[in-house]
């Protein structure tokens, strides 16, 4: 009965995840999906790679390019729909304001988001040559769907449903500079645009 396993020995057991199935089956290599519209944010870690883009040196006459810092937190236990509300709340605010709002928000996602923002601010000052840590604002902030775990939810009469244990990602982009002024769109502007659209129409096959 004693089988001699050649090769790496004990490391073999550790390496093959299927011998003793763990709780998290998705730790193995992600499947290659063949359809076109796979989630653009997760296929390759593109959001992290955006921090690697290097621009050529600016000429002396050009206006100073504002620094952009991309950061994300992957696969944490929260719902993407619930996180979306917080993400849109934070969009467009300056970083101090955003952190303050999230600190006093009761939702679970607010704690994760605050960590991400603080980390991104720290990264900006240390690695991306941002001068003042308060001189940043949140340009983009989105939530994404992570890989779900599926479990059984027991119903009556022997029926069952498949319950999703939801995980999500949070993406944020900080830009250097004061936050852009929010332009209030009045009803007069809307009316003006409507009238311009009417005037722009081309009528074909007419006299």
């Amino acid at each position: 009965m004693a089988t001699a396993l050649t090769g790496r020995g004990l490391a073999f057991i550790r390496a093959t995840p299927n011998l003793f199935p763990s709780r998290f089956p998705w730790v193995a290599a992600p499947q290659q999906l063949s359809c076109l519209h796979t989630s653009a944010l997760l296929e390759a870690p593109r959001w992290e790679q955006k921090n690697r883009k290097v621009y050529p040196p600016q000429l002396p006459g050009e206006p100073r390019r504002p620094a952009e810092i991309y950061h994300c937190k992957r696969q944490f236990k929260y719902s993407k729909d619930k996180l979306w509300y917080l993400a849109t709340m934070v969009k467009g605010l300056s970083i101090d304001e955003a952190i303050a709002q999230l600190e006093f928000n009761d939702k679970k996602g607010a704690k994760f988001m605050k960590e991400v923002l603080l980390e991104a601010q720290d990264m900006a000052v240390k690695n991306h040559n941002v001068e003042y840590k308060s001189n940043l604002y949140v340009a983009e902030s989105t939530s994404g769907k992570g890989k779900y775990l599926k479990r059984i939810r027991y119903h009556g009469r022997g029926m069952f449903g498949i319950m999703d244990k939801v995980y999500c990602h949070y993406f944020v982009k900080l830009v250097e500079g004061p936050p852009p002024a929010k332009t209030e769109r009045t009803s007069f502007d809307a009316a003006k645009d409507y009238v311009d659209e009417l005037k722009r129409r081309t009528i074909i096959h007419s006299l």
Partner: protein, 314 residues
């Protein structure tokens, strides 16, 4: 089909304590409908049952060993080639005021005519180097060292990793390239103000006696321009059009025992009396003094601590 489905489901939930009443036949309760809608679609995916029982207790290794599986002895070995020393042995201490005095004054001439023959250890080291490498000569070596220096820095600006590894030792490589990955460096060597000179030499041996490495220090006085741009193309430090006089002490090393070894830049010596570098074009916050809860920070009388003037070699 539905009955089979139900049966499999019931077997699934046998462990749970849910009451399993047999399904009541519909006839006794209400009249049988004409159409009995049954769920006939097969569920392709039933998620696996997760039980915490057998997971955490006992490690799989002990279980495998108990089961009788024998593993071969694991050898975790890898040969490492050490091609350079870890630091600078017996660094050269440059005399105070080097390159500050003009060559026409008496002190200046004395400094300039300081020949390497003064130091006996250096002479010994050079003799050892000449044993291994017969083409070595202090007169031509300085020029070669300067060429290596210029080529290494040019490779650094283009970030040509392979070329850089040829010209710079493994110890020097991370120091030269740290933080430069996402930055653009523009460096130009304009001219050499004084001919480079060999000032110091040592021949340490690492690990085993006889494994000789030669370290030669070369003094260079030259004009260079340096400008560093950050990831977004903004100027971080320096100026492209402003040439600066730079006095440098370079350490060039070679693994003498290795017939294919080559002279490579190993480090630089920054003397303790070197003038401070130009500041970075941005405001940096320095950590303030540690205060107790009842103390207040006195901004007017606070003196920013200056680093001690120590010679350091990179």
């Amino acid at each position: 089909m539905a009955l089979h489905m139900r049966r499999t489901l019931l077997s699934l939930h046998r462990a749970t304590s849910s009451s399993l009443k047999p399904p009541e036949p519909l006839d006794t309760r209400c009249p049988a409908p004409l159409l009995l809608t049954v769920r006939t679609k097969k569920r392709y995916f039933i998620p696996p049952r997760v039980s915490l029982k057998g997971r955490m207790d006992g490690n799989p290794e002990a279980k495998a060993r108990a089961a009788g599986i024998v593993f071969r002895q694991e050898y975790v070995e890898r040969p490492i080639n050490i091609a350079c020393t870890a630091g600078v042995f017996d660094p050269y201490i440059p005399p105070e005021g080097d390159a500050r005095l003009s060559t026409l004054s008496k002190e200046g001439i004395k400094q300039r005519t300081e020949q390497i023959r003064q130091s006996a250890a250096s002479q010994l080291a050079i003799r050892k180097i000449k044993e291994q490498d017969p083409e070595f000569s202090t007169k031509t070596f300085a020029e070669k060292a300067q060429e290596i220096f210029i080529e290494a820095h040019n490779a650094l600006t283009n970030f040509n990793k392979e070329r850089l590894h040829f010209l710079v030792t493994e110890r020097c490589y991370p120091e030269i390239t740290r933080g430069n990955r996402y930055k653009t460096v523009r460096w130009k060597f304009l001219e050499s103000l004084e001919p480079p000179r060999v000032v110091h030499a040592r021949c340490p041996d690492m690990v085993s006696k006889g494994n000789l490495y030669g370290q030669v220090t070369v003094r260079m006085h030259s004009k260079q321009t340096l400008a560093i741009y950050d990831r977004f193309g903004r100027l971080m430090m320096g100026d492209e059009d402003l040439p600066k006089d730079v006095l440098e002490y370079l350490i060039i090393e070679r693994h003498l025992m290795n017939p294919y070894g080559s002279w490579r830049l190993h480090g630089k010596i920054v003397p303790s009396w070197a003038p401070a570098k130009d500041p970075v074009i941005k405001t940096v916050s320095i950590p303030g003094p540690e205060l107790k809860p009842w103390e207040e920070f006195d901004a007017e009388n606070y003196e920013v601590p200056k680093p001690a003037a120590v010679q350091w070699y990179k």
